[in-house]
Symmetry: C2
Subunit: 221 residues, 2 copies
């Protein structure tokens, strides 16, 4: 097969996804039916299911693509500063910016809290995406001026990732004008998070830090 030329089947897949995303964007996730999508992609309803296991799976595929498209932007964000707060803010803002046009679409996925559902951000199916993302937080810490205490190093990236997920979830459903509340939340909570990390290096906080480490050890196992 020649370079740059996709298999026909891949083209069809893309056509379905393009149709779906356009319609999701215009009319929302719920009110776009699989029949609509298939019609727009010029095929029978059932055909779409040959390429995607479910309607949700289309959103998941979009999320998959998002990850690879955001990667260079995340790299770039890390290059901009060596200050931990700025680095974290950079990572999170890349995601919010990227998803801004399809903010509502994420709501379709965010309902899947059940880690057994393949669409959950905590599921086995999304493990790769997740671990890949956590690695960015690891790097944000590693090359920054404030790395935090040694014994927390193992878990801090995952904790920060979870913090990020909280921010994003809030942002998805933030109904304030221009999502100003989310902006505030990000700025202020980042301040708190970084302060806490710095604080956690002080000798006074030894016991509590050890508790956190212990807790994370048992949970991950």
């Amino acid at each position: 097969m020649p370079d740059g030329v996709k298999k026909k089947s891949e083209e069809t897949r893309d056509r379905i996804m393009k149709a779906a995303l356009e319609m999701f964007h215009d009319g929302g996730f719920d009110s776009t039916t699989m029949r609509d999508i298939a019609a727009r992609a010029e095929m029978a309803t059932g055909a779409a299911y040959y390429y995607f296991d479910s309607k949700d799976a289309i959103v998941l595929a979009f999320y998959d693509r998002a990850r690879s498209e955001m990667e260079p932007r995340l790299e770039q964000a890390l290059e901009k500063s060596r200050d931990l707060k700025e680095r974290l803010r950079g990572l999170i803002e890349v995601k919010l910016d990227y998803f801004a046009p399809s903010r509502k679409l994420l709501g379709a996925l965010s309902g899947h809290t059940n880690p057994d559902s393949p669409l959950s951000p905590f599921s086995e199916r999304t493990r790769e995406i997740r671990e890949h993302d956590i690695a960015f937080f690891e790097r944000a810490l590693l090359e920054s001026r404030t790395t935090g205490p040694k014994d927390l190093k193992k878990h801090l990236p995952r904790l920060l990732w979870m913090y990020q997920m909280g921010i994003i979830l809030f942002w998805i459903y933030d109904s304030s004008r221009g999502q100003t509340k989310s902006d505030l939340l990000l700025t202020k909570s980042l301040d708190i998070v970084v302060r806490l990390i710095k604080l956690s290096s002080l000798p006074l906080t030894g016991p509590i830090r050890r508790s956190v480490v212990q807790l994370m050890d048992t949970l991950v196992s």
Copy 2:
């Protein structure tokens, strides 16, 4: 109407709910259909919708009932100790114990992260249940030995409630045998939470505490 005798309509409502909960319990939420429920309650499918707006609403009604049934147990839990950690543990354990037989059922509701959905724990519809519950955390703090710093008093109950929601969510999907992981999470995280509250009274933590207060102020507004 004589005392102790329910209206006929209320009896019918109860009959539907009883049928539903039994079947949810046996076969799970998803695989129990409204047709099944109506059949078990000996009526046509549509009739169930005269009493409940939706299938989810049945679960919500169950949750409503749960609140009033748990109230005396929560009172009792607060009477047992004046130690903050014990008091918090008491409140949370009452809920886990109560919901234990229908743990999986809660999964049906927990998917509703969208605060616009009436079934979300953050929605307007569930505000009363929520505020009522937060009040218990307020009391847990008030009459305990460690009340935490003054400026946090306004927000600490809500923060603790959110902490509790996290624990419950984890517990719902905890697949470890006998939910041992949840037990561990509760014990260890409670330790951390209470330590943090105590720590937050120290002068060193003034700035960070003020940040938290400020953040909560803007979010609640």
